[in-house]
Amino acid sequence: MASSAHAAPHEHEGPHVDPRVAEPPTSPAETTEALVGKFLRVGDNFWRAVAVFGVLTILGIIGVVVRLINGVGDTIIWGYYVAMFSFMITTASAAPMVAIAPRLANGHWRRPLSRAAELWSVVGLLSLLWFIPMLWILPPLSDGRRSLWFFDMSDPNAVPSYTPHIWASAAILGLVVTGLALLWVSSLPDFASIAQRAPQGSRQQRIAKWMARGWQGTSAQWFMVNRRLGILGALYFMMLIFVHFLISVDFLMTLVPGWIDSLYPITHAANALQAAAATMVLTAWVLRTFCGYERYIGIDQIWGLGKLMFALSLLWFWFWFSSFNVLWFGKKPSEQAVIELLTTGPYLFVFMAVFMLCFVIPLWTLVWNPVRKSLWGPPLLAVSVLLGTLLDRIRLYVGAYSVDGIGNPSVDKLHGLELDHLPKAVWPDIFDVFIVVGAIGATILVYMFATRIFPVINIWEQRELQLYDRGHESYHRGHVRIMGKSE
């Protein structure tokens, strides 16, 4: 930021500037010009990546089709599929929080990343699609399991047997709609910029013009945008927590008799925040390294997210240990059985990998500032966290869906206090592998296409930053950086 227009006279003896620090253009016109220009150009790398992830997506489609042919009656073969749904809402659907939380807290460092984070909400459309078969996979409440919904076996008509299905669908739909609304509202001013600068009559210009909804930039419009971003952001957060609550209980916990862990819904959401930070570190790193956004995304963003990942890896342990310690210490047979199924039994090695990847490795590397404040450290550890989260979701969902008697009303799950016998570990077959890579490939593909409609760097927030960032000014013999506070 040394070349800021507001910098003081001692420019020549300016502060030592780290080459990794982002140096965005300093005038609003230049910013808009540069970012719209980058948005309109598509490189060959983009299409190469589309090809790679397209192939993965096709593999995923094959996997899903084969599963559908096998039918939805037996839950055991669907464990990986449901785990991937959970992985999507844990990573992509949580990523917008990286834009929302610092925006509510007025953190300036978020600005270059806020759009990239909000863009992940587009993947919600994919997870909505992915969710549809799960409505058939999850048995109705009349199979006799515990549920949140006060379902009464003696009076099965009092509460609809498909209550979890209805509420989860509504919640996910609500989350996706809120996310898209948030993305659109935050993009309105940028669409207006694109509509002005894109070649007349081009497809992009037509889309942008339509999407801009006649944005002019009156103070009333800016006021509305800021208001709506605040409200939609808070709403998105609440919806996210709600979705994680419903999915982790109705689609996971209730399937394992005797699994009563009041903390787990919150752990599920907290893990999502950790995965969201990791997703955004990787996104930022890719945008900087491969997409030519190094003028906007610099060490400040990677560092900020690295600190967040460090804190969240501690949180991971705290939540895990809070559950584990209470269940372990109590020594109730029903609880011991659950610990054995999900942690110390057939999936012990998976759990140990998760423990290392989500907690031990990020903690003991990110504790060193040179690693935190580097361009390579946080991205590497983000891979570790994402891999750990993936394995964690697989361990839990595959384990839960392998419990015998799910969907069979003759097995008394409510009063059977514990798992009567431990199912064996379910290792993936080739189609499960297709489903896993396909879900990841499709997620990235959807994101990439979304960047063709929405500019991946928020243009107006960059321009707004120029109002508040006064750059370095000399202060006696030293230099200080002056940052204004937005409201």
Binding site: I260, L263, V326, R481
Partner: protein, 457 residues
């Protein structure tokens, strides 16, 4: 927007050391009153030691009563200091500056107060040292697998850590008092306490790093302390309402709720009693009230989930227990009072800007929160024990005796007394932090609008 008064260092010294170098008129009578309450409580404790625990209302099956409720309450309050000062330091929130010291000092005194009641409660307090691994002669060692050994280890760590934190952050201010003191002995005392502080760039840099580093170190300790306190209850499977995995985070967020409220209360008292309105501005109240809305709502969410999962078990005793909590007098009345005071009165009030910016209304609402949070602990601990169990041969409700009430009152007086005595010796607002804030403050104009700014890095 943050509106502020700009003051020079001399004025800051004069105003903020007023309570140390002079004595406000209300100070001595208040201290005497608090001393009376403290000694009455200690007298009650002496009586209890002489007569035995029979003088309390504790009896089978309710063997954890007011003492333990009060213990959890004060541990909760003690979380404010670190919550405010550590989190706000780490996030470089400017509004932390006038608040940190008072919050940290409250941590120290409320931790001491928290230690009172369980030590009294054990019945033979002269054997409290048994929790320490000291017995080399007989080879009898404390049982590490017991939560009652985890607990002292966590509380002692927290007490030592937060006291050292307060001391380190106090050094520059001690030097200021040393320089302002008139009496030669007072001067010598502070010269000794400040360890010869001079104010070199190295010392300031260490001070800044220590603030961040110690915050980062004390923060995980603070999380562990209340988690462990919650495990005193949660690891037990015998009592309904207790065995719940959510307890650790639920206790923490509850502690933050009551603790941050207590800090807001202190700020209001600072404005009222020490006339600190130049430093604690309406926008400070506004900021802490916004924080409180978030904290209170998160807390309420945890409370809600804890309930949902109690019903989710579909187990008769657990549900019977919840019915006792909600529908049977006196718990029903307490339950309603708790919900109203801890959430449904204060939070809607904080939605109004005029309430958030008023010291008076913040004082009232935050006192309400703490009344509610005290009752919350009562509702968690007592009904679970008082419920009729299949294998207990007597049951019944619990009535606190006068001795217990006096000892609980003693802890409140103790914290207030501690704060007042501290404020007589040391400033409750960190002078150097305020000065730094003033040095770093900038303003610039965009159009007609003045934008507050600060120096970063």
């Amino acid at each position: 927007m943050l509106e502020h008064v700009h003051l020079d260092q001399k004025t800051i010294n004069k105003e903020l050391l007023g309570g140390v170098l002079g004595t406000p008129r209300w100070w001595l009578p208040t201290v005497i009153f608090l001393l009376i309450v403290v000694f009455t409580g200690l007298g009650a404790f002496g009586y209890m030691m002489n007569k035995g625990l029979g003088v309390t209302g504790l009896n089978r099956p309710v063997l954890w009563g007011f003492f333990l409720v009060n213990f959890v309450f004060w541990i909760g309050i003690s979380h404010a200091g670190i919550m405010i000062s550590a989190i706000l330091r780490l996030t470089q929130a400017e509004w932390r500056r006038p608040v940190t010291r008072a919050a940290e000092v409250m941590t120290v005194f409320s931790l001491m107060a928290a230690l009172h009641t369980p030590l009294f409660h054990v019945g033979r307090p002269w054997r409290d040292f048994w929790v320490f691994p000291y017995d080399f002669a007989r080879g009898v060692w404390p049982n590490v697998r017991s939560p009652f050994v985890w607990d002292p280890s966590a509380v002692m760590t927290y007490l030592i850590g937060s006291s050292l934190f307060v001391f380190i952050a106090l050094l520059p201010d001690l030097a200021i008092i040393r320089d302002r003191a008139k009496n030669v002995w007072v001067k010598r005392l502070y010269a000794g306490l400040c360890l010869g502080w001079r104010g070199t760039p190295r010392q300031w840099k260490m001070q800044a790093i220590a603030g961040i580093l110690l915050s980062a170190l004390v923060l995980p300790v603070f999380v562990s302390v209340h988690s462990i306190v919650s495990w005193d209850f949660a690891v037990l499977i015998g009592v309904e309402t207790w065995h719940s995995t959510i307890f650790a985070p639920y206790f923490i967020i509850g502690a933050i709720h009551s603790g941050v409220s207590a800090v807001a209360m202190l700020m209001a008292l600072g404005v009222w009693m020490w006339k600190l309105d130049n430093y604690i501005r309406p926008d400070h109240f506004d900021a802490i009230a916004r924080l409180l809305i978030v904290v209170a709502t998160t807390w309420f969410f945890f409370f809600f989930i804890e309930w949902v999962f109690a019903l989710y078990t579909l187990e008769g005793p657990e549900i019977g227990m919840r019915e006792l909590q909600v529908f049977e007098w006196p718990y029903s009345g307490l339950f309603i009072l708790f919900l109203l005071t801890a959430y449904f009165i204060p939070v809607p009030m904080w939605m109004f800007k005029s309430v958030r910016r008023s010291a008076f209304w913040m004082l009232i609402t935050t006192i309400l929160v703490n009344v509610g949070m005290w009752i919350e602990r009562f509702i968690i601990i007592i009904p679970g024990l008082a419920r009729r169990q299949p294998l207990t041969f007597d049951w019944g409700t619990y009535h606190p005796s006068l001795v217990e009430i006096l000892i609980v009152a003693e802890t409140f007086a103790f914290v207030a007394l501690g704060m007042l005595l501290f404020s007589k010796m040391f400033p409750l607002i960190p002078l150097f932090d305020i000065k730094e804030g003033m040095t770093n403050r900038r303003e610039f104009k965009i159009g007609r609008r003045t934008i507050p700014a600060t120096v970063r890095e």
